[in-house]
Amino acid sequence: MDIIFSVIREDTFWKILLFLHFLMAVSLLAAVTLQAASVLTSARQTTGNFIDRFSPVPAASYATVIILLYVPQALLGAFIYLKYRLYVRIPMEQLRHWWTLGAFEFKEHIIAMGIGLLPAYWYLWRQPISDEDAGVRRWLTVFLAVTIWYAFGAGHVANDFRGIGS
């Protein structure tokens, strides 16, 4: 770390990481939202009006991207969490921002649950896709989308408290 800090300032380093975390979150959010929308609308695509026939990219093609983004994103978040624990959470407690703190604590748990479900998610979306697990595949995808949306929201609020541009 000392080598890095001899090149750039410490706060700049953490801001770059936080920005990278944000960029990856946006990409992940886009992929998981499109996939969730796809699995929720796939049953209605053959008939109906324009919206019903709206056909996004096949849902299976997102799965690899989501896994490849989720794992490094979780690892990067876990690394930034070190800084959060000392330089964000303590002032949060002192200024009594309990809702922000509680929401962020819940984010830790929801992300951990997502990590645990990733192998099953990978299996459910690997080719050839089985019809046997269609229901669990659909709801697991939606669950993962909810975890990512929640994590994004809670992270954004914590960033507003003390982060980039706050």
Partner: protein
């Protein structure tokens, strides 16, 4: 002609054995990944509630301690989250490996047993605590114990596991992949209520 037929039969036998092998390996992968998802989410919830981290990280001083470490003066706040995940991953891996070895019927029943026990154990402890404070007419403090709560929890779990049909256990097995994490999040979220009611 006979020779050609013989080779054809051998090839088709080889193909079918390959198909069986592939489907067996796919079934094993399915069992492994699903069992991992169920076990990880269940164990993570349990480890968080019991506060059993594999290690504790002290970010202010950059020190790592094995298992649970209460911070000494000047060490700053401890971080347990990494430790819960670090313990849940190998535990869930062991459970998933075992899941691929045991017969499917036993796996489905074992899953019901573990999930029911995880729900009934804290529920019976909570019920005992309510009984002690609101109902008991004698000094029932000895009942306020995790180990006393084990007895009704085990009895209830054994009854549930015994009475549930094998077909039902098989049918709901994949649903545990959603029930356990959602249930875990309800439990963990409930433990965070203190932040939202201040």
């Amino acid at each position: 002609m006979t020779r050609t037929l013989g080779v054809g039969e051998e090839l088709s036998a080889l193909d079918s054995s390959r198909v069986i092998g592939t489907s067996k390996s796919a079934a094993r992968t399915r069992t492994f990944t699903f069992a991992f998802g169920i076990a990880f989410t269940l164990l993570y919830t349990i480890y968080e509630r019991l506060n059993w981290p594999l290690f504790t990280w002290q970010p202010a001083v950059g020190k790592m301690y094995f298992w649970l470490h209460r911070p000494l003066s000047g060490e700053g706040p401890p971080m347990y989250w990494y430790g819960w995940i670090a313990l849940a991953i190998p535990s869930a891996l062991v459970v998933s490996c075992v899941a691929t070895i045991i017969p499917s019927r036993s796996l489905y029943r074992a899953t019901i047993f573990c999930c029911a026990l995880a729900a009934l154990w804290p529920a019976s402890l909570a019920a005992l605590r309510i009984y002690i404070t609101d109902w008991a007419t004698f000094d029932a403090d000895f009942l306020n114990s995790v180990w006393v709560a084990t007895i009704p929890a085990l009895v209830g779990t054994a009854a549930i596991t015994y009475f549930i049909s094998s077909r039902f256990a098989e049918r709901v097995w994949t649903s545990w992949l959603l029930i356990v994490p959602i249930g875990g999040l309800v439990v963990l979220g409930n433990s965070l209520l203190i932040y939202f009611v201040r």
